[in-house]
Symmetry: C2
Subunit: 270 residues, 2 copies
């Protein structure tokens, strides 16, 4: 089980993974970032502990670590216990929800392997907002989507803000970079037997409910809020579907549109 280690010096080098998070993890995947996965709060830390990610340590106030006692029983990592001020000084902010955990990134998932086994996928182009990306993963997890493929210009799902907004579900839903030329890389999905349905507000697209996607193996192609999918991506899809919308309303948030589509394809069998 995890070892509880009291720490009272915010400069303690054992807390270095947690130091000045706001600046350190601005882009964890970039040079200068530490490339670590940070979970915040009891719910998300619990999901991290249950995930395949290799946890390096926890840092929390005693009350929050207590709440995680059952989860920590099965795992052998240091759990640093500090008071709220020590924790805030090391981390760089107070709103840290009382407990953090840090993990190494996992080995990348192979997109082709994911596509072969998935019944449903979300495929993203240009979803570069960490909150939208986090929400999308939350919705994908809730509605039973088997994985997420990241096309060009997507944000990093393991960025701290995405992890938090996803409520930790980025740690649960497998994702992979869709490498290679775009949108040619979408062929990988067709080769895997998935139908590629692009979501667009275009009036000549097929209404989602009448597109006959329920019960089929489908990859839902989603673009960024605002610009939407590029013409190239739309042209490369097997079909274009739309969510019927009231006149005068621009669009739904991309994560919300995703949820409507994921429900419509019936990824979770009721």
């Amino acid at each position: 089980m995890a070892t509880l280690i009291p720490v009272d010096d915010p400069a303690d080098p054992r807390l270095d993974d947690y130091r000045d998070l706001t600046t350190a993890d601005r882009r964890p995947d970039r040079p200068g970032g530490r490339g670590l996965v940070i979970a915040e709060g009891v719910v998300v830390v619990r999901r991290l502990l249950a995930s395949p990610y290799l946890v390096r340590s926890l840092l929390g106030v005693p009350r929050r670590l207590d709440e995680l006692a059952d989860d920590l029983a099965a795992i052998d990592v240091p759990a640093y216990a500090a008071d709220a001020d020590t924790m805030a000084t090391a981390v760089g902010f107070h709103l840290n929800r009382g407990v953090l955990a840090v993990a190494d990134r996992a080995a990348p998932v192979d997109a082709a392997a994911l596509a072969r086994t998935a019944r449903s996928l979300a495929v993203l182009e240009g979803v570069n907002d960490h909150e939208n990306l986090g929400s999308l993963f939350r919705n994908a997890a809730a509605l039973g989507v088997d994985g997420v493929l990241l096309g060009p210009r997507c944000a990093d799902p393991l960025y701290r803000r995405s992890v938090r907004v996803s409520m930790g579900h980025v740690l649960r839903v497998p994702f992979a970079d869709l490498a290679g030329p775009w949108p040619g890389a979408l062929d990988l999905l067709r080769d895997a037997g998935l139908r590629v349905a692009a979501l667009t507000p275009a009036p000549d697209a097929v209404p989602l409910a009448g597109a006959g996607l329920g019960g089929r193996r489908v990859a839902v192609l989603l673009g960024a809020e605002g610009p939407g999918l590029t013409d190239e991506a739309l042209a490369a899809a097997d079909l274009r579907v739309r969510i019927p919308m009231a006149t005068g309303v621009d669009s739904l948030n991309v994560a919300t549109a995703g949820a409507v589509a994921f429900h419509a394809i019936g990824a979770v069998v009721s």
Copy 2:
């Protein structure tokens, strides 16, 4: 057309409606609050100008007021032009998107009248988070829901944060307080010929897609994220429907669940 009035003194009493917004409008509907509707940014100000709300004035930097020139042509209100610093000093913060407008609240809508004419409604119980409420209005507007009824313990849709998150759609979708004893007040919906469908994750509820709600006049009853609907509200509904969800996932955000339901009832005819 609107009169452009240069202002260079942040203490100018003509800017009093905009003064120290962060503290002044914390709860605009409460004593001490000014009870005004504040729109922020070009998109939302534009929606306010197009709404039935009586606009008192605008305050913006010249560039943003220019963007609104067409919208302002048809309306006779003072538009105070200030530089960004003057504006920030009066308002109390810099992140004001360069233009604000202020309006009086409108006379309350009658819930029974709204229910009689609506083809679809959202009915909320305990949705006390301003962001969720704003998102819900955005989704209701996009998906063609005709109105929102506010049951007990709901936040104020006209709070500044709700207005912003809704992208101004709280100004477009009619809403009313569902007064009277709860959940008995729901009888008003049935009397108006609407079917009351309560959204719940309960496993014995009917899957949304198979509930036969498409094309019918429906009121979708939604509870707060987390606790969900009270037992009393669930018992008072005509039927209980669920969005099939993957095991181990708590729930969708209430605005997202609403969007899935609004699409399923087909409020916008494709």
